[in-house]
Amino acid sequence: MSASYVAVGWNRQKKIYDWLIAGFCFTYLLLFISVTLIVNEQVTFETLLIRSTSTLAVLLLHVILAIGPLCRLDKKFLPLLYNRRHLGVTMFTFALAHGGFSIFQFHALGNTNPFVSLFISNTNFNSFAAFPFQALGFFALLIFFLMAITSHDFWLHNLSPRVWKTLHMFVYLAYLLVVMHVMLGVIQYENNPVFVIIILAGAVTLITLHLLAGSKERKLDKRKFSLEQEGFMYVCPAEEIEDSRAKIFCIDKERIAVYRHENKLYAIHNVCKHQGGPLGEGKILDGCITCPWHGYQYLPHNGQSPPPFKEKVSTYDVKIIDGKVWLNPVPFPEGTERPGATIK
C-alpha cells in the first residue's frame, strides 16, 4: 500500500480524534493556568508558559506510551492507536514550546549564544545532584523532533520500516531522559514529594503495562509444536479458526497467521509491512486480510496488497488432515501464491 498516505483522507474518525486531542489539551492548559493564577498569583507569565506546556507534554507522553501495550492486551483499544502519530506531533509541539521558551528565558540576553549557553553553563556532569538537567531535556526534544518530522508515511517508506521503527523505539530513551530532566531539575527545587510520587506512578504504570503485554505474547511464542510430519507441524484443530479470522502460531521464532477465508485456510507471515502490526489479529474484509493497526490489506492466497499497492509478505503452506491443521514453517518468497487448504 505504498500510496496509502495519499489515499487516506481526513475522515470522520480522524476528525473526532483530533478534536478530542485539542479538547484535552485546552482543558488541561486552562485548568493548570487558572488554578495557578488563583492559588499562586505571584507567578510570572513565563513560568506559567514553561510549566503548563511541559507538564502537558509529559501527560501526553504517558498516554502515547500506554496505547501500544494496551492494544496488545486488548484489541478494543485499537481506535486509539490508529492516529497515535497525531498525539505524538501534538506532544512534540508542546515540548518544543516549553524547550524553546526555556532556552530563551534561561539563556538568551547573556554573554553567549543561547544554544552554546545551554551546554556550557552548568557543567557539573560528574555530580548527580548538580547534573545539567536542561541538556537531558534538549536531547529528549531532539528525539521527539526526529520522530515528529518522520511521522508521515512518506518517511516510513523512504527510511524503510526497519529503520523507521528503530528510530521510533528511541521514544523510550527520550522518556527516560525526560524523567531524569524532571527529577534532577525542578524537583530539586520543589521539595514536595507529590511530584516524585506522580513521576514514579507514571513510570510504574507504563512498565507494568509493557510487562503484561510482553508476557501475553511470550506465552504465545513459547508454545511448543511437537508433532511433525514431512516438514509440517500440527498446530490446532481446524474448527478453532473462525471464519474471516486467524490464529497466530510462533514456530522457530517466526510468527505465522493462519487465516480462514471462504472455507479455506491460508497462511502468511504475521508481520505487517507498514509498521509491523500483527496481521493475525486482523480480519478479512472484502476478501483481503486487513491489518488491525492501520488497515493495510493483503490477499490471503498470495500475501500481496491489491493493486495499485505493492506490499508483499511471505506465504506458507498449510494442509488439513482429519480436521487437523498442519503448517509448514518454511516461508515462500514474499508474494508467492499458495493454494491454501480446503476445510471439509
Binding site: V43, P79, L109, N122, Q188
Partner: protein
C-alpha cells in the same frame, strides 16, 4: 468485541461495541486530564512576591558608589528626630549583564568618572524582601543628572568577624524580581549566565526562624570573584568568610575557593525548604 466487530481507522465510523469502549476510555482520560491539571497546579511551591517593574521607568537620585558593588546610595528625608537613613540600591544591566559595562560606557560618553558623585539614574526597579535593585539599560538613556564634585559620605562600616554560613549563591536580578523561581536548580543555568555576565553574586541564607538574609560576595582583596564561583552557583554550599557591614549590605570576603564547600545532596524526599536548599545556617563569630 465479537467476531463481526473490527476496527479500521479509514472507515468512517467505529463499530458500536468498540465505540462504547472508546467512549469509556475518553471519560477516563478527561478525568485524568482534570486531576493532573489541578494537582500539578496546586502543588507548586509558592512564588515569592518579588517584583520587576517591567516597562515602568523610575528616577533615583543618590550617590553612585563603585564599591562594594556598583550601586546608588539613596538617602531618605530627615525623620522627626532629624536622622536620615540610606538605602543602597545595587545596579544591574540589561538582560543577563551586570552594570559595569554600561557604567564604563556612560563614563566614556560623559568623559568623567561617576564614583562618589551625586547622580540621577532612570531605570527599572526590582525589589523583594527589603532589597531594591535598579536595572539601567542603554536604551532608556539612564543617566539623567550627574554632579561635578565628589561627595564624601563614607559608608557606615562595621567588622562582623568571621562567619560560617550555609546557603545559596544566586544572581540578584532574577531572584529579586525578574524570574520565579529565581533560585535553585531549575534556575541554575540562568544564574550562571547572569553571574558570568557580571551580575554581583548574592549569598542567600535562611536562618532558624525561616527569615532570609542576603550578603554580597567578594574575594579577600575586595575584588569580584564571579568567574571562580561558576560551579557552585544555585546549590547548597557552606562558606567561611570575613563579614563586614557597609550601610545596609553585608559583604563576605572569601579568601579562596577552598573556603566554600558544597553541602550537596538530592532533595527528592525532603519537605522543608530549610532542609532542602539552604539548610540551617548559623552566624558564629570565630577568631582566626
Amino acid at each position: 468485541m465479537d467476531n463481526k466487530e473490527f476496527y479500521i481507522g479509514w472507515m468512517p465510523a467505529a463499530p458500536g461495541g468498540l465505540a462504547k469502549h472508546i467512549r469509556k476510555v475518553v471519560v477516563i482520560l478527561i478525568m485524568l486530564v482534570i486531576t493532573a491539571g489541578i494537582i500539578l497546579a496546586l502543588q507548586q511551591k509558592k512564588f515569592s512576591t518579588a517584583t520587576f517593574e517591567f516597562g515602568q521607568l523610575t528616577e533615583i537620585t543618590g550617590i553612585y558608589q563603585q564599591f562594594p558593588v556598583p550601586s546608588i546610595k539613596a538617602m531618605s528625608n530627615l525623620d522627626a528626630s532629624g536622622h536620615s537613613s540610606s538605602l543602597t540600591i545595587p545596579l544591574v544591566g540589561y538582560g543577563k549583564s551586570g552594570a559595569e559595562g554600561i557604567i564604563a560606557e556612560l563614563e566614556k560618553e560623559k568623559n568623567t568618572t561617576l564614583d562618589k558623585k551625586t547622580v540621577t539614574f532612570r531605570g527599572t526597579l526590582l525589589y523583594s524582601d527589603g532589597k531594591t535593585l535598579l536595572q539601567i539599560d542603554k536604551n532608556d538613556d539612564p543617566l539623567t543628572k550627574i554632579s561635578d564634585a565628589v561627595v564624601n559620605v563614607p559608608p557606615a562600616i562595621k567588622e562582623l568577624g568571621t562567619v560560617r554560613l550555609t546557603g545559596e549563591i544566586l544572581d540578584p536580578k532574577c531572584y529579586f524580581g525578574v524570574m520565579k523561581p529565581g533560585q535553585g536548580k531549575p534556575h541554575r543555568d540562568c544564574a550562571i549566565r547572569c553571574i558570568a555576565g557580571g551580575m554581583s553574586p548574592v549569598f542567600y541564607v535562611r536562618n532558624e526562624k525561616g527569615e532570609a538574609n542576603y550578603y554580597l560576595i567578594l574575594d579577600a582583596a575586595g575584588k569580584k570573584m564571579n568567574e571562580q564561583l561558576k560551579d557552585i552557583i544555585a546549590e547548597p554550599v557552606s562558606l567561611r568568610a570575613r563579614a563586614v557591614q557597609y550601610d545596609d549590605w553585608i559583604v563576605l570576603y572569601i579568601d579562596g575557593m577552598n573556603k566554600i564547600t558544597r553541602t550537596g545532596g538530592l532533595s527528592w524526599f525532603k519537605t522543608k525548604d530549610g532542609d532542602t536548599y539552604c539548610g540551617v545556617s548559623h552566624t558564629i563569630n570565630v577568631s582566626e
